[in-house]
Symmetry: C2
């Protein structure tokens, strides 16, 4: 990829920089993750405190107005930020990161403005009481931070740094983004190993074992930063920042022993969880398609939709707890019960002294605290079955209708919430039939939902292990994950894959589709092929650039310079633009330029891949009529060994080649001599199912 | 790869089988791992008990004779098994597994006899008191079990199974072996996540995220099996099986807080550990080269060498503890001190009552118990500095001289042993300057040695985390690993890479070497190219098979069947043999056979890749003179879309293609028309540094 070899000192700079960047990504992501939690806990805590204080004074209407009002303002602010500043910041962000790491350069996914909006919007959205998580946005934030640091900031804001020119190629950038995504998971869950495995299992499309170590280093830095910050806050210097807002629960007190009935219960939990999970995916897909109609009408509609959902959420959270009766406080409660005048887990909510409202403890709480309540072990009678049922239905539906509104919204927390309530519900219903702890049931329920929606397995497993810090329940978690994933895979794809597909991002699957075996490479080559000659007229190049959107042009050597027309290589649009912009190599006649000339006239890094939005644009060219008639030698900037396939190569094999090597262009050459030396160019889009099925409607679609 | 598409029911069978095999591999590896530990603990425990009983009676000479004699017999038995039955079972086995997963089909690496000898030999070797581990052999054992199950047993022993015909291709086999290797690590360390990461980081050359989940499933099964077995043994039904022989230590009692001086100490530990680690690699390399001269002289010499080392080890273990003075028992010892008449950790060894010999606790003990003693926390004064120093020097040297003798010998335990004693030594010397626990120092020392020799990072880190079951010391372990690996990388390569290279296995590196950029594909094509015609005379094929060792032959279409000579594809030696053996398609004249004929006359799985040693051999052919003159149509068995590169393709890019797609043959085609349609075939050997440097001695060797 890099067409000039590097010297020793540069390699050293490169290695140092690589690790420095990993360190910086870790530190920044850790700090942002902490700041995020701090802000959410304080804003939401303050809001909940105000509400409960008003309720203690029996001013219920004012309390609702206050609660709904706060939510509304936060939601509207988050939506406005998203709608006007950075539409790409809406949603989870994991599908976008996944697509980017697959090689899709979608517009502005990792721009600094997206980063900014993602952080603030996520804080607003979570603090507004939506059933959304901050985990997906954290992954996106981590990736944005990595991209921001890797580009040396943004030229737009005049923050560039010379050393970073080493990172101007696809692979290094992908590596950085992978580290960033892993750091995001690590910051969200405080799970360094889980972060690495998440990046490996879900995010990355290419993986080298060298990257493993760097990623792990980054996530470990995140863990250290988070731990330092939380230690700092433990002394109460961080306002309402309670237990850290990072789900961390301890089940190790309950010793995990289980018999056959327990295992059957767990398998049943997994099967039903898988069904619910795939239903979740199905409904999210439908909702997203509906919302996209509304969202497309413009920013005001986006905000309106968000406000409507916010009102719905407020009504549910505030209204539903009125339905259940009060629970007497457990005699051995470690926490103050009911908690009055502070943010605690036993919500008073209109109850007589020494009683609390169990549904309010779930609904009128931050999502993290609700999860912690559901997971809590040794408290078998904390929740009524009816409360758990109402909460499960409420959160399941709210989670579905909330995803798709124009705020940064993670999917982990809704899924964990509904899964945990489902698990605890099942556990409570089974009652004495199973010896397992109810908190463990909640954990297994959450695992079954995660397996059913995300279809991630190892990373979810390890994240849950790291959250519980206990290896002994590994077999149960694995069993439930395996069951639910298998069940859910019968119905549809994972939620992130669904979203990637719905957004129309050209994602290359690992496996070639079966029908590709019956096609050959030349079958799917499309469009008129524009070739350039080795020494080409400037005007022709400008025209080619103007008339097509192609990013790669094959270069052909013609008889005066070779015996027969032959494929010389491939030249990239960006390199052509740099060459034309430079103008220094234009010649009056068809004469070759030595490559030493190029080295002399262009800096070593002029041709390196520019950051997003930083490259030379076609409009930047200023070429007069006289120059249009001149010639320029393309050989020095041509990639002389492009990967090629013969036109009769099976498409499936070409797809494997394209995907495994992470190519952007694949030249198709003719099998028999005597024809033009290149048949066409395959790009990512030519391997997409839509394109192939468009060309061959008769192919039966498998699956 | 598979040239016939499969039907639904077959896909179902395939998936079920895949998971069943993963389950079986997990269960078998777990059981074997447990059996291994059980046997070692009982044999070694019995031996140590006898010795110490004799010592209590002051019969020191007899005690030594007994000790050395037991060791000698065990060692000789293990060596004899290795030397006569399965020479491939000697050594660690990890390099071989690594090479196999890289695509090297070395002879008998995974044969059933190797499996058998590996298990018994490893038990003998470890029980004989050698400074060797059972971890490397466990990995090899896991891989052998996977291969054995995946081939449906061995045809030699009449154990085949019909369903397994699905697994007769390279990829599925590699997947199975990967699972097996991960299961081996999991069984050795009881670290399921560590096993997965080990397979990912060190063993596998190709990785798909689908494999991640299957591997994890396997390792989790191993963990469950081990746990069940150990629970079963806890009641004392397993003889001298003490704490399980699986290193499992608990540092969680000591809260990890550290300041700047501690960090400096840790970095220093890492630097020195890295130096020692690379020195270890260097010395192991030298020793291996020396031993190979001896070992090459035949099996008796191998046994002789083993016996000599065994005597040396016995002398050291028995003799060195005489040098140190006795230590008074700690008043709060939980264990019996000194332990008389049973296998305990406080060895009496000639000491007055209430005293123990600390060096004997390390030397006259199983390696696992010695490591547990070194790691033990809260026991700052358990060992004298002088004892630790003697033990460190002794184990370091013994570990080096032991690797390379003809017994299955892992490298993990020697490295952990010397690293832990080094770390504890440093910790004891530093004394009050550092607040860290001495046991933690031992752990960090072990980590530094592991980083310095194996150069694995994430997996070592996770394995150590799982062993200690405490996430809080992650930053320190990472710091020390990062330091030692960086330091050691300045000097030489990891020990496994070294061994792979020394054994002459053609291992393909991930990165192309820099000098490859200046070469093109046609530069390294070697040897006379043998091509076959689309419809070829049987005699010519037989000759080609006889005269060359090539595994792939390009097939060329000639003018009667095409306009110009063109490359039709590639045919494999094994397929040719099956076709010739079948004889059914021989024709008198040059006429094409329809592919439906082939389908009719050959079963669907006749051409599937046979197990090692199971394919049709050249000698099996029985073709008479008349048949030699007949023709056979090769088109039906030709792979019509081989991957090709143009002869001017840069060698570096061709190497990336070859390695990333896991190819075995890469066709080189000419750039200009009018020449034969194929220039040559590149195989694994053509990318080896030795081959290229042989062709171009002028290339300066980087690094």
């Amino acid at each position: 990829e890099d067409w000039r070899s590097r010297e020793k000192i540069q390699i050293f700079q490169y290695v140092v920089l690589k690790w420095t960047l990993a360190l910086l990504i870790g530190v920044s992501t850790g700090l942002v993750g902490f700041f995020n939690n701090l802000a959410v806990e304080n804003i939401a805590g303050f809001k909940l405190l105000l509400t409960s204080n008003l309720m203690v004074e029996n001013r219920y209407h004012e309390a609702f107005m206050m609660y709904a009002g706060c939510n509304l303002i936060l939601a509207a602010a988050a939506a406005a930020l998203c709608a006007y500043l950075a539409p790409a910041a809406a949603g989870s962000g994991i599908p976008e990161v996944k697509a980017y790491l697959n090689g899709v350069d979608a517009h502005s996914i990792l721009a600094p403005s997206t980063l900014f909006v993602k952080i603030l919007g996520s804080i607003g959205g979570v603090a507004a009481g939506f059933v959304v998580g901050k985990e997906g946005p954290m992954v996106h934030t981590g990736a944005c931070i990595a991209s921001f640091l890797g580009q040396g900031g943004s030229r737009k804001y005049h923050l560039t740094w010379k050393w970073l020119r080493f990172f101007k190629n696809d692979r290094d950038r992908r590596d950085l983004i992978t580290c960033g995504a892993a750091a995001g998971v690590a910051a969200a869950f405080r799970a360094p190993v889980g972060g690495v495995l998440f990046a490996l299992e879900e995010a990355a499309s290419w993986w080298r074992s060298a990257l493993l170590w760097r990623t792990f280093f980054t996530t470990a830095v995140v863990a250290v930063v988070l731990r330092t910050c939380i230690d700092f806050c433990r002394s109460g210097r961080c306002g309402l920042f309670g237990q850290g807002g990072l789900i961390m629960f301890d089940l190790s007190s309950s010793i995990t022993t289980y018999g056959t009935p327990d295992l059957i219960a767990v398998v049943g939990l997994g099967i039903v969880g898988g069904l619910f999970g795939s239903l979740y995916n199905f409904l999210v897909d439908k909702i997203l398609r509906t919302y996209s109609i509304i969202n497309e009408r413009g920013a005001p509609f986006k905000i309106l939709l968000t406000v409507a959902i916010s009102l719905l959420t407020s009504c549910c959270s505030y209204g539903l707890p009125w339905l259940v009766k009060c629970t007497p406080c457990p005699p051995d409660a470690q926490d103050q019960c009911p908690s009055i005048g502070r943010s605690g887990n036993y919500k008073n909510f209109r109850c007589p002294p020494n009683h609390y409202n169990d549904l309010a403890s779930l609904f009128l709480n931050t999502n993290d605290d609700a999860i912690r309540n559901l997971f809590s072990g040794g408290t078998d009678n904390e929740f009524y079955i009816s409360s758990l049922f109402i909460f499960f239905v409420g959160v399941y539906c709210l989670g579905i209708v909330t995803y798709g509104i124009a705020i940064p919204s993670g999917l982990f927390i809704p899924v964990i919430l509904s899964g945990a309530s489902y698990g605890r519900l099942v556990g409570t219903i089974l009652g004495p039939m199973s010896k397992l702890d109810k908190g463990l049931f909640a954990l297994l329920g959450a695992a079954s939902f995660l397996g059913g929606t995300m279809r991630m397995t190892v990373s979810v497993c390890v994240i849950l292990l790291e959250l519980t810090n206990d290896l002994l329940m590994l077999p149960l978690i694995m069993l439930v994950l395996l069951t639910s994933k298998t069940v859910a895979d019968c119905f549809n794809k994972g939620v992130y894959d669904q979203i990637v597909k719905m957004k129309g991002l050209p994602f290359l699957e690992t496996h070639a589709e079966p029908y590709m075996r019956n096609l050959v490479a030349s079958d799917v080559v499309s469009g008129p092929l524009i070739t350039l000659y080795g020494i080409e007229k400037v005007g022709n190049i400008v025209n080619a650039l103007k008339l097509t959107g192609h990013n790669g042009f094959p270069v052909i050597n013609e008889p005066p310079f070779s015996d027969a027309p032959e494929l010389c290589g491939l030249v990239l649009r960006s390199h052509l633009l740099v060459l034309l912009k430079g103008k220094r190599l234009f010649t009056k006649d068809r004469v070759p330029t030595g490559s030493s000339d190029v080295l002399r006239r262009f800096g070593a890094f002029d041709f390196a891949k520019a950051g997003s939005g930083k490259g030379v644009k076609l409009g930047d060219l200023d070429i007069n009529q006289e120059e249009m008639e001149m010639f320029v030698d393309l050989h020095p900037i041509t990639n002389r060994s492009p990967y090629t396939v013969v036109e009769t190569m099976s498409l499936a094999k070409a797809a494997v080649l394209f995907r495994d090597l992470g190519l952007r262009h694949l030249c198709v050459v003719p099998k028999t001599p005597g024809r033009p030396p290149i048949v066409g160019i395959l790009t990512r889009h030519d391997f997409m199912q839509e394109h192939i099925l468009g060309l061959f409607p008769n192919i039966k679609q498998h699956r």
